[in-house]
């Protein structure tokens, strides 16, 4: 009997609190908005920045970033040690075709040598040519099979007298870097030979080979004639920027969400909500945690850039002076690019953080946060994918249109600025759109927050959610 009378408090409470209740957002607490928000920002920043796990993660990341910057140098160093000097591709030529355009054994060999090696000045030359008589053909072929010989080239003539080539190698057909060179060589020799058999003199043959005079005039408006290297540098920077944005948003907006859920599970909300309005709490949390995360990321970026800059003198010391590659990247892009990058990353953070926070306010425990925030995470991922899809056509119509959608503006705009052409007013418009979206999302999140904050029971479905948001 006694057991029946004792109601379990948990059960009754969760029944009560399952019904959605909105914390009033107007009223006396709203008067101190600025002051309260400042206080809350301060608390959130301090709380996050002094948290042991945050500090440890920061240090670990710093070390990783620092070491990672050294990787290219290390790789190069290892390569330079293990690559044997004088590794060449050995080519043996067996000539059964007799005289080819007046070239015979030695002159043929030197012709082939200069064709294959081209204008490279590295020593030793990539290809070494030697001639062998027809009699050694069988042993040469077995040498190729055993891997002792890189390339065997056999020249002979068909019944009609045309040149024929047999290219024998033990390289992987999928990964044969010599094939194109050999093909070009075969092409050259055939044309030479045919010209000779047709009766052309050497000077006439030279005229046959002369490259056409082709002038290119691009009439598409706004096309700046950029050198390829600059485009590549731009892409690398834009990619680095987009990657940073995606990482920053995914990781740190998630931290905001976790912070919100943590507060709920400690029930501090009950008191907080008496002293501050849900909006103040939300804003304070986003800005406070955002500031802590920004601090962490700034440290990482500074250390990363510093370490990368270190590479140039380091590489100079190890391998002898080379063109400083990284500084080029940095100074290649102009200040406005960096400024825009900073603006976009901040806007992206606030936009997604608001969504994450609002959705996270609806959950009961911290492990449910991942489930609740599926939607914004998908949006972030899509933004990342769009970056790559758009990389090949930064000025396409669809890239432009999608870059106006606030969720994908940061990554796509970075791409367009670096690789395509963007008018200044487009930048202004996209920033304005993002600001509007941030306000909308924060309003939406604040409404969710009002309900979620005191809700410890079930999560309402999407339909109910929208209804709740519109209630007062």
């Amino acid at each position: 009997m006694a057991k029946k009378l004792m109601e379990r408090p948990e059960q009754v409470r969760s029944q009560q609190e399952q019904r959605a209740v909105a914390v009033s957002s107007s009223g006396a607490a709203a008067q101190n908005t600025l002051r309260n928000v400042r206080l809350i920002i301060g608390r959130e920043y301090k709380n996050r920045a002094t948290q042991r796990s945050f500090l440890i993660t920061s240090i670990i990341l710093l070390v990783i970033v620092f070491l990672a910057a050294f990787i290219p140098t290390i790789v190069q160093f290892v390569q330079s040690i293990t690559t044997q000097p004088g590794s060449q591709t050995q080519v043996v030529v067996v000539n059964d075709a007799g005289s080819i355009a007046g070239l015979n054994e030695t002159t043929l060999a030197s012709y082939i040598r200069s064709e294959l090696n081209g204008t490279t000045t590295t020593s030793p030359a990539p290809y070494a040519i030697s001639s062998q008589p027809q009699a050694s053909l069988v042993s040469l072929q077995s040498q190729v099979k055993k891997g002792k010989l890189d390339i065997l080239l056999v020249l002979d003539r068909s019944a009609q007298g045309n040149l024929q080539f047999l290219y024998d190698t033990n390289a992987d057909p999928n990964n044969d870097s010599n094939l194109s060179n050999i093909q070009a060589l075969a092409q050259q020799l055939t044309v030479l030979d045919t010209a000779h058999r047709l009766g052309l003199t050497p000077s006439q043959t030279t005229r046959l080979f002369a490259p056409p005079s082709l002038t290119m005039v691009y009439t598409k408006p706004g096309q700046s004639t950029r050198p390829v290297s600059e485009i590549i540098a731009g892409f690398v920077l834009a990619y680095a920027g987009a990657l940073l944005i995606v990482i920053f948003v995914s990781v740190y907006a998630n931290i905001v969400a976790a912070g919100v859920a943590e507060e709920k599970s400690s029930r501090i909300m009950e008191i907080l909500v008496n002293a501050a309005t849900p909006f103040q709490l939300l804003a304070g949390k986003i800005v406070g945690i955002g500031a802590a995360c920004l601090t962490q990321m700034t440290c990482l970026v500074v250390v990363g850039i510093g370490a990368l800059l270190l590479q140039t003198p380091l590489q100079g010391a190890l391998f002898g002076a080379k063109a400083g590659s990284f500084i080029q990247y940095l100074t290649g892009a102009s200040i406005p690019f960096y400024l825009l990058f900073l603006i976009y990353i901040l806007l992206a953070f606030f936009l997604y953080a608001a969504l994450y926070a609002g959705l996270s306010a609806m959950v009961k425990r911290q492990d449910e946060v991942q489930n609740a925030t599926i939607l914004p995470r998908m949006l972030v991922t899509i933004g990342y994918l769009l970056f790559f899809l758009g990389a090949t056509s930064p000025n396409a119509a669809w890239t432009k249109v999608l870059s106006y959608l606030p969720f994908w503006t940061p990554t796509l705009m970075l791409l367009r600025i670096a690789l395509g052409t963007v008018a200044w007013w487009e930048i202004v418009v996209t920033i304005a759109l993002m600001l509007v979206a941030i306000l909308a999302c924060t309003w939406f999140a604040a409404r969710l927050y009002r309900y979620g904050v005191l809700m410890y029971g079930q999560r309402p479905g999407l339909g109910q959610l929208l209804k709740l948001v519109r209630m007062d």
Partner: protein, 311 residues
């Protein structure tokens, strides 16, 4: 000057949590808010604090609707204790006090005073999670009062405390009362309500069952109660035959019985002596709130019982 709750109603979807509730808390009073679990105490408290609004009716403090009263005037001790576990005591209390509108200096001064009063100055820089439960309760209590609010709303302030800590809190409680604060608190320990409160209200299923000063409530609803202990006759079964007497409780330390209003309690003593009993205890007791509570609320508080109270 008082806090007046007028005819408030609150629905959560189909469920009516508060049904036409009215009560008045005078300024400076110690007001006990009694009721079973799920009766609507927490909901009413939250509406007093303007955490959310009633669907109809209004709550005013000195004539001003509570939504316009400055946040600083209220102090709330929630039923579920809640503090940032990893924040240090002093930091947290300062944060909460300043959030409620106190300046930094005032907050520090009040903090020093109260930490000393509760004798937990040594814990100033400790994290909340490192404190024992009793000390956490003290900190929670401080979070409620540090900003010197006029109205204290406390949901079961003494629950879960050992007698020593409960006493410390009780002293602070009474200090607040001495300073003229208006205190509304809910509790399940009805003896404590009897001890501390001037006025009480008992609510059940969102409705007010009984209201008024403790004395009035006892007088109107209580019955005379007598307690008897006989050394040589623990059962005292002859009590059952006594007219106008109804045995209600048999405990190790006494037998409790209800006496009809017009019956002279001496009758029991005489009967005991007649049966040759050695009386080690006999007292006529004022009706206890617990009994009144059980009688009024009793089985109707259970979920399966009909939600409307008998007229």
């Amino acid at each position: 000057m008082s806090l007046i709750v007028e005819h408030i109603n609150k629905w959560f979807g189909q469920f009516q949590a508060i049904n036409d509730l009215s009560m008045e808390v005078e300024e400076g009073a110690l007001f006990g808010f009694l009721g079973a679990n799920g009766a609507g105490k927490t909901t009413t408290m939250r509406m007093i604090l303007d955490l959310f609004r009633p669907d109809s009716g209004q709550i005013t403090w000195n004539g001003t609707p509570v939504r316009e009263v400055a946040r600083r005037s209220f102090g709330y001790l929630p039923e579920e204790r809640g503090l940032y576990p990893r924040m240090k005591v002093a930091e947290q209390l300062l944060f909460l006090a300043r959030l409620s509108g106190l300046s930094k200096q005032d907050a520090l001064r009040a903090l020093d005073e109260w930490l000393e009063r509760f004798q937990i100055t040594a814990y100033r820089h400790k994290k909340i999670e490192e404190l024992s439960k009793g000390n956490q309760q003290k900190v929670q209590f401080l979070a409620t009062i540090l900003h010197d609010p006029t109205i204290l709303v406390m949901d079961e302030p003494f629950s879960g405390l050992d007698p020593v800590n409960a006493n410390v809190l009780k002293e602070a409680f009474l200090e607040m009362h001495r300073r003229g604060k208006t205190i509304i608190f809910s509790t399940h320990q009805l003896e404590q309500a009897e001890e501390l409160c001037q006025d009480i209200v008992i609510i059940n299923k969102g409705q007010s069952v009984v209201q008024g000063s403790v004395r009035e409530v006892k007088r109107q609803h209580g019955r005379n109660v007598a307690r008897l202990k006989l050394d040589n006759d623990p059962e005292a079964s002859w009590l059952e035959q006594l007219p106008g007497v109804q045995v209600t409780k048999r405990r190790e330390d006494y037998i409790e019985m209800h006496i009809q209003v017009n019956l002279n309690p001496n009758v029991i003593v005489e009967a005991a002596l007649q049966h040759g009993g050695i009386i080690s205890r006999f007292e006529v007791v004022e009706p206890s709130l617990t009994d009144i509570f059980m009688e009024l609320v009793g089985t109707t508080a259970l979920p399966d019982a009909p939600s409307a109270l008998p007229a």
